[in-house]
């Protein structure tokens, strides 16, 4: 469960201030975050994942006070409990699909020695319809395929929280729906919380809840 209380954040030398008096997101909930550009949607994802540590307010995730955790604890939290999906996929061009999915295991020593990760990666790819792409490099994949690989990477650790920052932003309408369906399906299967930042209002139907950041700018509690 995510609990945000009296959060105030401002970037240095910026007039914008993110102000969230109170926000609760339950386990397994599928939340869409919408709002105008520059309203702080991505900033919220960064705060929830501990990339930005706030000094005013409290951010709690599954009982952990995120804004009081050490760098090491935050890194371990992100790698073990949060899956990230980005608009531009952020796959490493020099790694093939298989290695890109297993990247979280290679960049944090606390993940070393976890068994069964290879078969998990293959299983995920097969499930997402890219099982035959394991040896391909990102430059040989379509945008839809790249996002499926990025989702596989995000879900490789079965994280209880998935943060998706405009995951359909670079996709055609057909792929947008497919990717969202995949995210919903995986969220249901793992009972993981899904927070998706999106500009596509026509895709909001499947979400449990919609948070409009236009409301936060007016300091409205949800």
């Amino acid at each position: 469960m995510i609990q945000v209380t009296n959060l105030k954040f401002q970037y240095p030398r910026s007039t914008f201030e993110l102000n969230i008096p109170e926000l609760q997101i339950g386990d397994g909930e599928k939340v869409a975050v919408i709002g105008p550009s520059g309203s702080g949607k991505t900033t919220l994802l960064n705060i929830l994942s501990g990339i930005i540590v706030v000094e005013t307010g409290q951010v709690e995730f599954n009982g952990h006070q995120i804004n009081t955790m050490s760098d090491r604890e935050l890194r371990n939290l992100r790698i073990r409990q949060i899956g990230f999906v980005f608009q531009d996929f952020k796959l490493l061009e020099y790694l093939n699909v298989y290695d890109n999915i297993l990247l979280p295991y290679r960049i944090n020593s606390s993940m070393a020695g976890v068994s069964g990760r290879g078969s998990k990666a293959k299983e995920l790819c097969k499930h997402l319809g890219v099982g035959d792409k394991l040896s391909k490099y990102p430059k040989h994949l379509s945008h839809g395929e790249k996002q499926r690989i990025a989702i596989s990477r995000a879900l490789i650790n079965d994280p209880p929280l998935v943060l998706a920052d405009e995951p359909t932003g670079n996709l055609d309408p057909e792929n947008k729906m497919k990717i969202l369906e995949i995210l919903f399906k995986m969220s249901d299967a793992n009972n993981s919380t899904l927070i998706t930042v999106t500009h596509d209002h026509e895709l909001l139907d499947g979400f449990d809840r919609i948070i409009d950041f236009a409301d936060f700018q007016k300091s409205t509690a949800i």
């Binding site: 992100r78 790698i79 990477r153």
Partner: protein, 392 residues
């Protein structure tokens, strides 16, 4: 660590052209000073070894360096000659024995060295096939000559004319190869050895022709008296010495007045060396006598000074390449900012990211060091050929 190495390896192999360019640049910078040092050290060792094994060299007054280089390495520098008589004078001193060396001619690019059989004993040379020369007109060739020209005992070699335009000059001499020397890793491998008299025949001081006593053709024998016979240009001159015509070969004049380029003198002991050099320096015996070690040492001092200049240049080039290398890394990191931030976002620490980058650099440097090691090994393998071909 294993994962960092794996990711670094993947990055380098994916960007293989960039990696190869960087690797080879660094490899060359590592190899050049080390390789040059190896080359110079080996050259020094070989030059000194050759010089150290040759106690004294006598020759006409002039450049001691030219004299030593001509005698030890058979370089075809035109140095002034001294007479064969001088070898006899040195022998008469009783301080040791002389070996004449006449090295002014060549055959198919290899020097022809006229000497005596003592030379082979002195240098410890023996034949791998065939035998040493026995009579004039025979030659024994060095192992490199045999290999490069694919020659064997039973084949022949023709001396190269001094000038293609000298129609009135001496005819080339066809020499019979009777043996091939064992490989010795010295300039002897690249030489053609003949009896010193054979070089005089090449020079035209000795020759063989039809027996004038048997010839009655007036177009050949122009004048005949009790004491002499005058022959014309139509007289057939032999250009090869064989058992049938060897008796027709003869020298005109006193052999003691014939030229040689130098004399290797082997003194009986240290005292004999000192006494002999004293006599020469006092002018009691004409010409010059040098200790090759001292001359080569002097030469090496010059090479050493050049080496020091090279070392300074390498330090500057190395520094420049290091700066460029640093710039390439900095630019590369800037280009990879997004990728590294993704790693950080997913859950990597800055230290882990630094470790991956460090591993990439380490792999580059280690590969470069390996390549320069291989280059060093290859240089070592071919160093003798290289030194013989380009340095001495």
């Amino acid at each position: 660590m294993k994962d960092s190495i794996y990711l670094a390896y993947r990055y380098l192999t994916y960007n293989r052209v960039r990696s190869l360019v960087l690797t080879f640049s660094v490899a060359i910078i590592i190899f050049l000073p080390v390789g040059l040092k190896q080359l110079i050290s080996e050259s020094e060792d070989q030059m000194l070894a050759r010089a150290n094994s040759t106690p004294l060299i006598a020759g006409k007054k002039g450049s001691p360096t030219d004299l030593v280089i001509n005698t030890l390495y058979f370089q075809q520098e035109k140095i002034e000659t001294l007479t064969m008589e001088y070898a006899a004078i040195l022998d008469e001193t009783g301080f040791g024995y002389s070996i004449p060396v006449m090295s002014s001619y060549s055959a198919r690019g290899f020097p022809i060295v006229g000497t005596s059989l003592d030379y082979f004993d002195f240098r410890g040379l023996s034949t791998q096939v065939g035998r040493l020369f026995g009579v004039v007109g025979e030659c024994v060739i060095g192992s490199n000559v045999a290999r490069r020209l694919d020659l064997h005992p039973g084949d022949s070699l023709i001396s190269s004319p001094e000038s293609f335009f000298d129609f009135a000059g001496v005819y080339p001499l066809k020499m019979d190869i009777v043996g091939v020397l064992n490989h010795s890793n010295t300039p002897d491998d690249d030489a053609i050895f003949v009896d010193v008299k054979t070089t005089w025949i090449i020079m035209g001081l000795g020759h063989g022709h039809q027996d004038l006593m048997q010839v009655n053709d007036p177009t050949i024998v122009l004048e005949r008296s009790d004491s002499s016979v005058t022959a014309g240009a139509k007289l057939f001159m032999y250009n090869q010495i064989d058992p049938e015509n060897i008796d027709q070969f003869h020298f005109h004049g006193d052999i003691n007045s014939y030229p040689i380029t130098s004399i290797i003198f082997i003194p009986e002991n240290q005292k004999a060396t000192a006494l002999l050099r004293g006599r020469i320096e006092s002018g009691e015996i004409d010409n010059q006598m040098v200790v090759p070690t001292l001359v080569v040492d002097n030469l090496l001092q010059s090479i050493f000074r050049i080496k020091q200049i090279f070392n300074s240049v390498f330090v500057i080039v190395g520094l420049a390449v290091s700066l460029i290398f640093g710039l390439v890394i900095a630019l590369s990191l800037r280009l990879r900012k997004d990728e590294l931030y993704t790693m950080f976002t997913i859950g990597s620490g800055k230290r882990k990211i630094a470790q991956i980058i460090g591993m990439e650099l380490l792999l580059l440097v280690v590969t470069s060091a390996l390549i320069s090691g291989i280059m060093y090994f290859i240089t070592g393998f071919f160093i003798d050929e290289f030194i013989n071909a380009f340095i001495i």
